[in-house]
């Protein structure tokens, strides 16, 4: 449930900001991490997102959901980081190892694929495909919401999402063989 009252407020106080962080902090961190593949940077970026939200809440017009607004800020911050020559050239990257989770019985189609294997496949995608997939899978945004965050036509989001899913499935099948 979105805090609708925020659509028209000029500022958020400490308690409200705390609520925002409780509700969306992990989402923002995860998205920044998926884009940067860097835990330390995800930490910095996600904190920066809420600081910016605090100062700029009046620019939130309620035309998108609060979650997509925060994710869009996180994306801008992450892309600024990625487009920095310094970081691009020294290539700060770490091996991404998501936590393990128990495989589900529903995974018969792919065998007993673990969450870590799936995330390895996801992190192997190009950034364009990876972010669309994660916004769908992890953040459960609609196609329209993803299009808003990425500033892309909804049809392009659909086609990227389709390609991303196929690519992950292809990689998982390849690993299984």
């Amino acid at each position: 449930m979105e805090p609708d009252y925020l659509k028209h407020v000029e500022s958020v106080d400490g308690a409200e900001l705390r609520q925002l962080m409780d509700r969306y902090g992990d989402d923002v961190w995860k998205y920044a991490y998926v884009l940067t593949k860097d835990r330390e940077q995800a930490k910095d970026i996600s904190q920066e997102v809420f600081i910016r939200a605090h100062y700029n809440i009046r620019s939130f017009r309620g035309q998108s959901s609060l979650k997509t607004w925060l994710l869009a800020i996180a994306r801008n911050q992450s892309l600024n980081y990625l487009s920095s020559s310094y970081f691009r050239k020294i290539g700060l990257r770490e091996t991404v190892r998501p936590r393990q989770s128990a495989p589900s019985a529903e995974s018969a189609y792919l065998g007993q694929q673990s969450a870590a294997e799936i995330w390895d496949a996801i992190f192997g995608l190009s950034k364009k495909l990876r972010e669309v997939l994660v916004l769908d899978l992890e953040h459960e945004l609609t196609v329209q919401e993803i299009a808003q965050v990425l500033n892309l036509p909804a049809g392009t989001v659909k086609s990227r999402l389709h390609r991303a899913r196929k690519e992950v499935e292809k990689r998982l099948k390849g690993w299984k063989q």
Partner: protein, 498 residues
């Protein structure tokens, strides 16, 4: 067409962990926002910000020494109000104190000749609005879609612009499938679906035009999906399947086809107008689409910008303290600094780089008139301005949370502040009457509004939180209201941290 979520989603979801945004992080954010504008950053933020600050300081100190003959019109280094900045007049030249030499290196500036290294966009870690994978059109039944428009292109065929289902807003482009008959081609009941091209509300904006980008004959389909969201799809045909369109180049930004290196083959210049202006050039090299990031090549990355001026075929590198002009080499992939390049210090900026010194009032001199003005700190941004007092000259003034609206005998105008990361900038054009200011970003015209002109200036005293200063007025009343507006803007002050 809806795809069901794959089974493996349920396994993967949550796999990144939880409680990632920790209590400590929340406390840190809370601590920072409770100390307005005394924002502490950790790790690399501190190092990066300190480096930028050092570099800017070094340039401010070094440049006057390096150019002893140049004027020193620095409103930023005097205690006088910044000059009334009539665009028609050169800035005055008050004396400035002799700066101390600095050993800090200046910020990077590209060489006078920059060789461009084209690379594959697919392998690049940056985020660019391009797709180069091959997508071949698929045949679909014409009856399965809702056609909104049909565009005839002489010699190429007929293109349908459609939505897939009633109520959909996503527009697609398709090409009519024609069957060969004894008397030529005739229409069929099928389309080659090329792909998404925009949103339904922009159906009238879709265009299909002949293209010879990269020296290959084809068509370019343009569509829009929002105020600053466009899609360009280039389609071509192969000899082996001359009727089947395919695309291997799509750009989600504005683009121009231009023969930059004058070798007879058109390159594509892509321009993004977001919080900063970005430009990329695309070329086909050895049958692969390659690109170069012009911002990176000219070392004009955030908060710098690059603007391509198609009419003059030049690239402007807008750096925080200067603007440099480059042109593409003839038959050579190189950017050359032109003779007409301007090396501008912040002295040529409209908005003085001055901190608020506590003065409550100031006299603004505009076209021989004196406006008694009073200091107002902005509630939202760490800036303030001296605003003319109400009286016989300023008839009415309304303070807005993000700026000011006022009416004089000459007309009304707005001055507003906007966070640079609030959203994408609109399409801006560089107007000659303000082009002398280094901090001028460009102008937006909205013909359907009474105050139809908006001039954007960037104020990046805090390089991490740049602000746009937007001047809004009726273009046909520019000479009446703009001088005072520019004078107010020129005397904006930064409010130092508490």
């Amino acid at each position: 067409m809806k795809e069901t979520r794959p089974d493996w989603y349920s396994i993967a979801k949550g796999g990144l962990g939880d409680s990632l945004f920790t209590e400590e992080m929340k406390r840190e954010v809370g601590r920072i926002v409770e100390q307005p504008r005394a924002r502490r950053r950790s790790g690399r933020w501190i190092a990066g910000t300190a480096l930028v600050a050092l570099c800017v300081a070094a340039v401010l100190l070094i440049l006057p020494l390096a150019r002893p003959d140049s004027p020193a019109p620095s409103p930023a280094v005097t205690d006088e109000p910044s000059p009334v900045p009539s665009p028609d007049q050169p800035l005055p030249t008050p004396e400035s104190p002799e700066p101390e030499p600095s050993e800090t290196p200046p910020p990077p500036i590209a060489d006078s000749e920059v060789r461009l290294a084209y690379e594959s966009p697919e392998n690049h870690s940056g985020d660019y609005p391009v797709e180069t994978d091959r997508v071949e059109a698929k045949r679909i039944d014409k009856a399965s879609v809702r056609i909104q428009r049909t565009i005839e292109v002489e010699g190429a065929g007929s293109f349908a612009i459609y939505v897939r289902e009633e109520g959909d807003s996503q527009l697609y482009a398709g090409m009519e499938v024609r069957a060969k008959g004894t008397t030529g081609h005739k229409e069929t009941d099928e389309l080659y679906e090329i792909g998404p091209i925009g949103e339904l509300v922009y159906a009238d904006d879709v265009s299909v035009t002949p293209s010879s980008a990269f020296g290959q004959s084809g068509l370019r389909i343009f569509g829009a999906c929002g105020a600053n969201c466009v899609a360009n799809t280039w389609i071509r045909f192969e000899e082996s399947a001359p009727d089947v369109p395919f695309s291997d180049f799509r750009l989600y930004t504005h683009a121009q086809e231009v023969d930059l290196d004058e070798d007879g083959i058109l390159e594509v210049v892509a321009t993004e107008t977001s919080t900063v202006g970005k430009v990329q050039i695309y070329k086909r090299i050895a049958d692969r689409i390659m690109f170069v990031d012009v911002n990176e090549a000219l070392q004009a990355e955030h908060p710098g910008s690059v603007v391509y001026e198609g009419s003059r075929r030049i690239f402007l590198a807008l750096l925080p303290d200067r603007t440099l002009t480059y042109e593409y080499g003839i038959r050579d992939d190189v950017m050359k600094l032109t003779d007409e390049h301007t090396v501008e210090t912040d002295l040529d900026r409209l908005i003085a780089d001055k901190a608020y010194d506590g003065s409550e009032s100031l006299q603004l001199e505009v076209d021989g008139e004196t406006y008694e003005s009073t200091w107002f700190a902005n509630e939202t941004f760490p800036v303030g301005a001296y605003l003319p007092n109400d009286g016989d000259k300023v008839l009415r003034k309304i303070l807005l949370t993000d700026g000011l609206y006022y009416t004089t005998g000459s007309g009304s105008a707005f001055l507003t502040f906007r966070a640079a990361d609030e959203g994408d900038l609109p399409e801006l054009s560089k107007e000659a009457d303000l082009a002398m200011y280094g901090d001028y970003m460009g102008t937006e015209f909205k013909d359907d509004e009474p105050y139809n002109r908006r001039d954007y200036f960037v104020y990046d005293r805090d390089a991490k939180r740049p602000i746009y200063v937007v001047l809004r007025y009726a273009d046909d009343n520019a000479s009446g209201v703009r001088p005072l507006l520019l004078a107010i803007a020129a005397n904006i002050r930064y409010v130092p941290e508490a």
